[in-house]
């Protein structure tokens, strides 16, 4: 195991995060704060409690998930797409590193950035609403697993993408709708039965549901199924990445 290489990639990626601090930190925090102002304070005060939780507090887990998922994907996809775009990927391919080490470095850094943003948004939310965390450890496990699994997905997108437009395509056309329709701002039980069934095919539902359970002990699906879903999603992404490196798809001729 080339631990020094993992460390080098991780630190190099993190240094970009800190170099562009305003862009990477302030903007997600600002936009989430706006969500709190609009949905929590302005509209939320006119909405009745959802499953015994005030609406402002109810959307906190969903909002964190929304930011964390978006950030994990964009950081990881950009992290591996940029070296491909500017040509520095030659160095990764010629270095004595295995695919696991490359993934650990890039995905680790992207997940870490997303985690930092998630924690900061959670902290911000305390200023706007009264949030209780019933199971802090479970909350952390869900948060970390989400960061890692979506960073893996982002890594795959970054390798697949042939242009900056494509890099934006999947997050914009697939991930954002899945998150918005995944119960970030409502409980699945509030939907008509047909849409409840359809929602069950949305993987994000399981994440948000599990994450919300860690806060309020209310969930749309049993916690065990949520955990199983996220573990399965992570395994799927890992398998895809293993295949990519074995065949050299889109990176090695």
């Amino acid at each position: 195991m080339n631990l020094l290489a993992i460390r080098a990639i991780f630190l190099f990626e993190m240094s970009r995060f800190f170099r562009t601090l305003a862009q990477s930190l302030i903007s997600p925090v600002l936009s989430t704060s706006l969500y709190f102002v609009v949905f929590g304070a302005a509209i939320g005060s006119r909405i009745q409690e959802v499953e015994g939780v005030s609406y402002g507090a109810f959307i906190v887990p969903g909002l964190i998930m929304l930011s964390v998922i978006t950030q994990a994907i964009s950081n990881a996809s950009f992290g591996i797409y940029f070296p491909k775009f500017i040509g520095t990927v030659y160095e990764l391919l010629s270095a004595p590193v295995s695919f696991l080490e490359i993934v650990a470095g890039y995905v680790g850094a992207a997940a870490a950035k997303a985690l930092i943003i998630g924690v900061i948004i959670l902290t911000t939310s305390f200023f706007f609403v009264d949030v209780q965390i019933a199971h802090p450890l479970a909350m952390l496990v869900f948060l970390v697993l989400t960061c890692v699994s979506f960073a893996l997905l982002g890594f795959i997108i970054g390798i697949w993408a042939g242009s900056f437009e494509q890099l934006q395509l999947v997050p914009l056309l697939v991930v954002t709708p899945l998150v918005f329709l995944g119960g970030a701002f409502y409980s699945i039980s509030m939907l008509p039965p047909v849409w409840q069934t359809i929602s069950m095919f949305n993987p994000v539902v399981y994440l948000i549901s599990g994450f919300r359970w860690a806060f309020f002990e209310t969930s749309d699906v049993p916690i065990g199924i949520s955990l199983f879903a996220i573990a399965g999603f992570t395994a799927l992404c890992l398998a895809a990445i293993w295949w990519i490196f074995r065949t050299g798809w889109r990176i090695r001729q």
Binding site: A5, G87, Y90, L92, P96, Q253
Partner: protein, 313 residues
């Protein structure tokens, strides 16, 4: 001297059927400088990329320091430094950070002393905290070399290090290569500047259309194929070569003013004295005498040209 790089039967075909390498065999000895000469698209970069792991070979075997580049890629790649042809660098990163990154990527623990030595050697130390985008083209190329040297490789590939570089910088680059050789690094460089191979290489390989046409000691190559020509320029033009000079295989220039005599530079007797005496006896009046030696360029052009003729019957 033992081999640091052994390539046998290396082939590379792309999905579109293009054969970039057609069974290349090559052995590089420890400590030498080998120049691979070839026209554009000859397969030079593909050869290097395959050794380094950027391209996957279709078939064949590559060993670096005895380690197979596929089965034992960690050991093999640790020994290699690669300076690519294109200037591929992260524009917003500082010079020292990108060099440190390369060292870490190759599994070497942080060593500020070693990095400082490399940056000083390449006259980059004063620029260490500059962003790469603020550097000149020549300086960027030095950063690429610094990255390749950061993990102290034993075998360094320089893919066209002086392409598009001005004369002064090219001389600097040659000095850097000499310095690396003195430090014990084996160097394989590709170039299409013949003068570059002539100036710094110990051995010269010629590659064209994915095949190694030859690889030979530079001196021996030039001696073997290096003939010298003597041009005898005459005051009055001739119609034909005089009978008295028939034994010399002279070639009469189209204007009738020049007789060209070819001879081997290494021969004990070049025959020049006797030729000039015979020219005088034949009653010819000399205006000037010029000698020319065939350069590596003539040899190279001749080889590649001959190869092309064989390919297109």
């Amino acid at each position: 001297m033992s081999a640091i790089l052994e390539i046998t039967g290396l082939r590379k075909s792309y999905a579109d059927g293009f054969e970039a390498l057609k069974g290349v065999d090559l052995e590089i000895r420890k400590g030498e400088i080998v120049a691979l000469l070839g026209p554009n698209g000859a397969g030079k970069t593909t050869l290097i990329s395959t050794v380094c792991g950027i391209t996957t070979a279709t078939s064949g075997d590559v060993k670096v320091g005895g380690h197979c580049t596929l089965r034992d890629y960690r050991a093999a790649r640790s020994m290699i430094g690669l300076v690519p042809q294109e200037i591929n660098l992260e524009p917003f990163e500082k010079v020292i950070n990108t060099v440190r990154f390369s060292r870490g990527l190759f599994g070497k623990p942080r060593n500020d002393g070693a990095i400082e030595r490399i940056l000083r050697q390449l006259s980059l130390w004063d620029k260490r905290n500059n962003q790469i985008r603020a550097l000149s083209g020549g300086m960027k190329r030095r950063v690429l070399i610094a990255k390749a040297l950061s993990h102290e490789p034993q075998l360094l590939f320089l893919d066209e290090p002086t392409a598009g570089v001005d004369v002064e910088l090219r001389k600097d680059m040659w000095e850097i290569v000499e310095g690396l050789k003195a430090a014990g690094v084996t160097i394989v460089l590709t170039t299409h500047y013949i003068e570059e191979a002539e100036a710094i290489a110990d051995r010269v390989g010629v590659i064209a259309r994915g095949e190694m046409l030859l690889i030979e000691d530079k001196g021996a190559l030039m001696a073997r194929m290096g003939q010298k020509q003597l041009d005898v320029q005459l005051s009055a033009p001739l119609e034909t070569v005089p009978e008295a000079l028939a034994g010399y295989d002279l070639v009469l220039g189209s204007d009738g003013h020049t007789l060209t005599y070819s001879y081997d530079t290494r021969a004990e007797r070049t025959g020049i004295t006797k030729l000039l005496q015979d020219v005088s006896r034949a009653g010819l009046v000399l205006r000037d005498v010029v000698t020319r030696q065939s350069s590596l360029e003539d040899i190279f052009v001749d080889l590649v040209h001959r190869d092309e003729e064989e390919e297109t019957p």
